[in-house]
């Protein structure tokens, strides 16, 4: 007797075969699906990490004392090999204010300049680089709006702020930076001298994080309360004060073995009485003069890293009298004394790099 029990139906065989084939097909796709999902995420995170390291741990290229990328103008952009915001290779996470300012300036073009000098790679990445500066309540950024899925890194850093000096009434009084109130001192031209001893500045403190380096970093000198130094006039407010010139001298060794002062050039951008716009001397002054050396070329062009610079301010009064004058005492020394100079300080900040 013929029975069909124990036989597999063709329907079952065909259906099961299709299922197995489908299962095998899908199973072979799984690695490809996961690799595809992971590949971009890993890549973008890696690029963000790499870019973050370049920015906060590297000073960029070139970065020598006399030839650093942040001093290059727009015509010199092709000479910049790599952006890097660190002060030096020995100071990771300590950023230079000058480099930060140059990096976020509007004359660099997004994405081309930044892609070639900090992101790197052939893939046309889009990115956003931001710097959070909470002490100044400031966020600076370059790049596109960040989409939901992107590679990301956040680095905590400190930014080295500039040093500055304020020479006010109490300081002038304590250091006798005015002629004594005697008739022989009644002259109408007075010179006040400021000393930048670069040899001392670069050797007394070796750590770039705390060093005063006029050749690479901004320095600012405020001279205030000028009329308080007019002591032998009944009404100092009636005296006209003119800042005649500001000259920069370099101290050099001459062939005779003695030192001499060589006039290098004039400083033509003093700021008068709190006005943010520089004014070319001679210029009338009420009470305050500010000298802001923020042009990176101004000091470095003198090649004065192994010598001293003297900044001499010449004032004219319309009536002879005592005034700010240290030509017969000693120049104001811009040094590491906190009584003279507000020292460079480090403030917290964060750099964020997003890549997609």
């Amino acid at each position: 007797m013929t029975q069909d029990s124990g036989n597999l139906s063709i329907d079952f065989l065909v259906g099961f075969t299709i299922f197995i084939l489908a299962f095998i097909g899908v199973a072979t796709m799984i690695p490809g699906i996961l690799i595809d999902l992971n590949a971009h995420g890993v890549d973008y995170d890696a690029v963000a990490y790499r870019s973050g390291v370049i920015l906060v741990e590297d000073p960029g290229e070139p970065s020598s004392d006399l030839n650093s990328w942040e001093t290059f103008n727009d015509m010199q952009k092709p000479n910049i090999t790599r952006f890097g915001l660190a002060l030096s290779r020995d100071t990771p996470n300590i950023l230079s204010q000058e480099k930060v300012d140059r990096f976020f300036c509007t004359t660099f073009v997004y994405p081309d300049d930044y892609h070639q000098k900090v992101i790197f790679g052939d893939y046309p990445y889009q990115f956003n680089i931001s710097l959070l500066d909470p002490d100044n309540n400031l966020t600076r950024s370059v790049g596109d709006i960040i989409p939901p899925n992107h590679g990301y890194i956040r680095r905590l850093v400190k930014i080295k702020g500039p040093s500055n000096a304020t020479i006010g009434a109490s300081y002038i009084e304590a250091h006798h930076y005015y002629y004594d109130n005697s008739p022989s001192d009644n002259v109408s031209t007075h010179v006040f001298s400021i000393l930048l001893n670069n040899t001392y500045l670069l050797n007394a403190v070796k750590d770039p994080s705390y060093q005063i380096n006029p050749q690479k970093e901004q320095i600012m000198i405020n001279i205030t309360d000028l009329r308080s130094t007019i002591k032998n006039q009944a009404n100092p407010q009636l005296i006209n004060i003119t800042l005649a010139k500001v000259e920069v001298y370099r101290r050099d060794l001459n062939p005779l073995g003695t030192y001499q002062l060589d006039l290098m050039r004039t400083f033509d951008t003093p700021r008068i009485d709190g006005n943010s716009t520089p004014q070319l001397p001679p210029v009338s002054v009420k009470d305050n003069v500010t000298l802001l050396f923020n042009d990176p070329h101004f000091i470095s062009q003198f090649r004065a890293q192994d010598t001293s610079l003297y900044i001499n301010l010449t004032f004219n009064l319309d009536q002879p009298g005592t005034f700010l004058n240290n030509s017969f005492s000693s120049p104001f020394n811009y040094d590491y004394s906190s009584a003279n100079v507000t020292q460079p300080s480090l403030r917290n900040a964060a750099v964020e790099v997003s890549v997609w």
């Binding site: 139906s9 063709i10 259906g15 299922f19 995420g41 750590d207």
Partner: protein, 170 residues
């Protein structure tokens, strides 16, 4: 007798196969499977952040400061100051929201006992909230030189290892 036993119901079979194939493909394609290959990226980002934070805390703000904030914190066991500084540093980010990082910190130092000269002891420093061991935390460390009496040793400069467990709240 002719019946339909053993006949291939072609349309039903092929349709069922295609439906299963499409279902499996869509399910797998729409599911993001969290693998160890992904988690190391988050761990790396947390480690970098924690390391940076300890480095910044161990950097004096200017050259008139003799000691870094982290040195002062360990010497004075000032856990509240550590918490404030560490949370401010690590949770600060651009945008309107802050990060959700939590931490637990202690420091470890070497001690000498009668039985051994190579023992270590730890002291709790601070935490933003208790670590329950359920969090996925990373560990960051920083060697700090402090002038402090630890154990039975006299006061002198010595190295302690500051350890921070760092994790992100969901």
């Amino acid at each position: 007798m002719v019946n339909d036993g053993g006949q291939l119901y072609t349309i039903e079979g092929v349709s069922a196969g295609l439906i299963m194939l499409l279902t499996a493909y869509f399910v797998l394609n729409s599911t993001s499977i969290y693998t160890p290959g992904d988690s190391h990226i988050n761990d790396m980002q947390l480690e970098v952040l924690g390391y940076d934070a300890l480095l910044m805390m161990n950097t004096p703000a200017n050259n008139t400061m003799v000691k870094s904030p982290l040195q002062e914190i360990v010497e004075q066991d000032d856990g509240q100051r550590f918490k404030t500084m560490f949370m401010n540093l690590t949770n600060n980010k651009t945008g309107s929201t802050t990060d959700r990082l939590q931490f637990s910190a202690n420091y470890t130092y070497r001690i000498q006992t009668a039985s051994t000269q190579n023992a270590t002891a730890s002291a709790f420093l601070s935490s933003s909230r208790p670590y329950t061991e359920g969090e996925h935390a990373v560990r960051v460390t920083k060697w700090v030189i402090v002038d402090k009496q630890l154990g039975s040793s006299p006061v002198h400069n010595r190295a302690v290892l500051v350890e921070v467990l760092l994790w992100r709240d969901a």
